[in-house]
Subunit: 198 residues, 2 copies
């Protein structure tokens, strides 16, 4: 507070957060590509502020993904001590798919941010959130497998493939909550160590 630099840096950070929040809203409303002008108008800042923070659309997309992924990782951390590891793992899977459904263009966003589709949600730019995300999923999986709730032979590549598949379809077809629940129920039965009696 005493130096001149501090408040300015705090202002810059606030501006960046405001732009990012507006970009999220504009993306959800209009889909891709995100208009920098629309973001500036929504955030109530000039175009210069937008481009200073996000020189390219790719940079903006990457920041949105990093922010979303960090929020999802924080949720995984909360679930990592849940009393029922199997339920926690499946709840997290559901959470990610619901998240994909909510926005108009998550799949396109991943592709346009230059993310390797082989790795699903991984590899976001220079940030390590992709790796963190995989570790979060891996942690919940391992715990659920140790608890005997999820089959021991389920490996990460297949799990990420199923997560990517259901996220892509949920987003493309705009699954409603009912279809999501019924479709994931089948996938989850396939992942369970002891499928429930039918």
């Amino acid at each position: 507070m005493s130096s001149q630099g501090r408040p300015r840096r705090a202002d810059a950070e606030r501006n960046r957060e405001r732009v990012l929040a507006s970009a999220e809203i504009v993306l959800a409303r209009d889909g891709l590509p995100v208009s920098m002008r629309a973001v500036a108008a929504h955030a109530g800042v000039g175009l210069g502020t937008i481009y200073r923070n996000f020189p390219t659309q790719e940079a903006l997309y990457q920041s949105i993904i990093v922010q979303r992924t960090q929020a999802l990782i924080a949720e995984a951390a909360e679930l990592s001590t849940a009393p029922e590891p199997g339920r926690a793992f499946l709840a997290y899977f559901t959470r990610i798919v619901a998240h994909a459904t909510r926005t108009k263009a998550m799949a396109d966003l991943l592709a346009r941010a230059g993310i390797d589709p082989k790795s699903g949600l991984a590899d976001v730019g220079q940030a390590d959130v992709g790796q963190d995300m995989r570790q979060a999923v891996q942690g919940l999986l391992t715990r659920a497998q140790h608890a005997g709730a999820i089959r021991a032979d389920l490996q990460m590549p297949e799990l990420m493939a199923l997560l990517t598949a259901t996220c892509l379809a949920a987003e493309a077809s705009q699954w409603d909550a009912g279809l999501r629940t019924r479709t994931l129920a089948i996938v989850f039965d396939g992942m369970r160590a002891q499928p429930p009696a039918r």
Copy 2:
């Protein structure tokens, strides 16, 4: 043969088939959008012939999908009398996903042909192949359910959602045969009436 019209109509049909076959090859090689010029060059016909048969790119995409879907429907008909209905149903599911993986841009193609993503592979233009495709899948499903191989509570919306999901991911991430087999094995266990012992 005696009238002047017959051979010309046959020629026109042959030209259309040649253009469609070339479009398939150009699509697999270059992805979307398909260059009409590249198709004409590959088929060895003039641009006029292309546009006479396919006035727009959408018309071309729809024809490609109709042709592919008809081929898949013919395969379903062959499987509809297979001795093991459960295996036949799962083999068909696998066949469709493998088909999606093979081409660079099946998912985009579906979207660009103006197909309602809610219905997955259904609703291709004026042609009824979308409906035929659904009926083919439904027929194999019902037979597998009557044989006790597939759970009786599996409904078409969830089945089509799973088919769309795995096709989209297989195409987007270019699943190799191993990943496809391992990922579908989990989905199939979820769809089976009696999951195999693990």
